[in-house]
């Protein structure tokens, strides 16, 4: 459904952020992109969203080539990026301008209910906590019913408890329309809790190091043996991705220390 075909990205300043990334994501699949800092995860997401164009290669969604932001692809940034001059409800309805007001209001109310923020519609973004704002950002992208939703470390700024509950919220939201999810994360536990596949990236230039299927039934028990095993598997691939290139041991050690 989502096809990345030999993507490369070289920024105008000469940084080679991605080198030859190819990936095929099925409809309704949840894919976690995981990798060290600076290995090109955000770049990859921005290419898929059409906010940035690849230097080489192409992204296509359902056979349609992406050359600008596409209605079938939504994105949630690392920060909530709510528009401060709109109320929570108006923020959620931001992408629904084309719908009649009644339908827009209905979708917004339903979205608020689903993320446990019923009654928060008239509030200003400044009156929300970080976790609440991030929930609003997620439903703002979801109410337009995209076929694919991209999330860039959406929970990384939150504490572990809030993060786990938002992961559950995200899964519940996903379950209602089953969009394809591409989720960037630093957190192995998050990848294993959510994803069908963990794609481990390797830096300089960013490319795919390992593609690990996580075939645990949902809902997943974070304390189970299988969960721990999957985590171990992803973790060791991640370690491998950081030591593999071995330009010099000293260098890779520094990278390993800094990956998270």
């Amino acid at each position: 459904m989502l096809i990345l075909d030999h993507l490369s990205k070289i920024y105008p300043n000469g940084t080679r952020a991605l080198g030859d990334v190819s990936l095929d994501v099925g409809s309704g699949e949840i894919v976690a992109l995981i990798g060290g800092s600076g290995c090109g995860k955000t770049t990859l997401l921005r290419l898929i969203s059409g906010l940035e164009l690849p230097s080489l290669g192409a992204v296509s969604v359902d056979g349609e080539k992406i050359s600008a932001p596409h209605p079938a692809v939504g994105i949630v940034f690392q920060e909530p990026r709510l528009l401060p001059w709109l109320t929570v409800a108006q923020n959620i309805g931001f992408g629904l301008d084309h719908l009649p007001k009644a339908e827009r209001d209905a979708r917004v109310d339903e979205a608020l209910l689903r993320v446990g923020l019923a009654g928060y519609g008239p509030r200003w973004p400044r009156e929300l906590s970080g976790g609440q704002a991030q929930r609003v950002a997620i439903v703002r992208a979801l109410v337009t019913r995209p076929k694919a939703l991209l999330l860039d470390e959406p929970f990384s700024a939150l504490d572990a408890l809030t993060r786990a509950s938002l992961q559950d919220h995200l899964l519940a939201l996903w379950d209602s329309h089953r969009p394809t999810l591409v989720l960037v994360t630093h957190d192995v536990e998050e990848a294993v809790a959510l994803a069908d596949r963990a794609i481990v990236l390797q830096p300089k230039p960013g490319r795919i190091f390992a593609d690990i299927a996580i075939e645990l039934p949902r809902p997943r028990d974070r304390l189970s043996q299988d969960f721990a095993e999957a985590k171990r598997q992803v973790m060791s691939a991640l370690d491998g991705s950081l030591t593999q290139p071995q330009p010099s041991t000293q260098n890779s050690k520094a990278q390993a220390a800094g990956w998270w």
């Binding site: 969203s49 906010l51 600008a68 932001p69 596409h70 209605p71 939504g74 994105i75 940034f77 920060e79 990026r81 528009l83 401060p84 001059w85 709109l86 931001f94 992408g95 301008d97 200003w124 973004p125 400044r126 337009t144």
Partner: protein
Amino acid sequence: MSEAGTLEQPLERQQAAASSASRRFAVSGSTLLLGFVLPVGAALAYEAAFRFGLVQARLLPPPSKVGSTLWDLARSGELSTHVIATMTRVLLGFGLGALVGMLLGALTGSSSTARKLLDPTLQALRAIPSLAWVPLFILWLGIFENSKIALIATGVFFPVYLGVMAAIANVDRKIVEVGRAFRLSKTALARRVLLPAILPDFIVALRSGLGLGFMFVVAAEIMGASEGLGYLLVDGQQLGKPDQILAAIIAFAILGKIFDWLLVSGSRPFLTWQDSHSRAA
């Protein structure tokens, strides 16, 4: 000269000034009264000193004299003639200067080509003290209203232009990207993202512009007018009537304050979303 200072200040400081001003409007009644203690107390003390014969009031008339002069001017209808003349000039000049400043600021703020093309020239023009234009304006536009309005508009133009340009150029890329991600057209992006984002800075720019508008209306009227509050000033000087000068100054202060208040309170409903330091204070 305080208005002239405003023009040179960096935008952050102008913003700080504006937010402290908006806080002023939010203060409770008792704090408001506190602000009156010094001027009212000084006026009463001076009045008392005059009554007890402690001061010669030839050059600085007591408040009661200024008040009665103001009252006489108001009753004879003279005051309203002058106020209307001055207000008309300020409003026309401000409207013209703010409109052109807004349009050019929007152009240079949103297009880097336009900025490279226009901004250096406009900055060079800004370096010219606006009063230096007066002889030319008089030659071109005559000694009556047109040259006065042109002068006021010139004074208003620069702070509005600079403020709008900086506000647009500084809109957060991350917020603009949200608009792009939702595939807003250029006009929708301007209306739904850029406009609300620059509104607070825009109001600040308008307020600085208005301050300069009042400064230049005085200059224009002092240099030659047969009516207007500035004319009252000159007339008072020539006839040796300090009470009339003070009455005109007070009228200026009240007018300026009213206009600024109208701007601020008119824009406040659109700015309730702001997450500013002054709201918490």
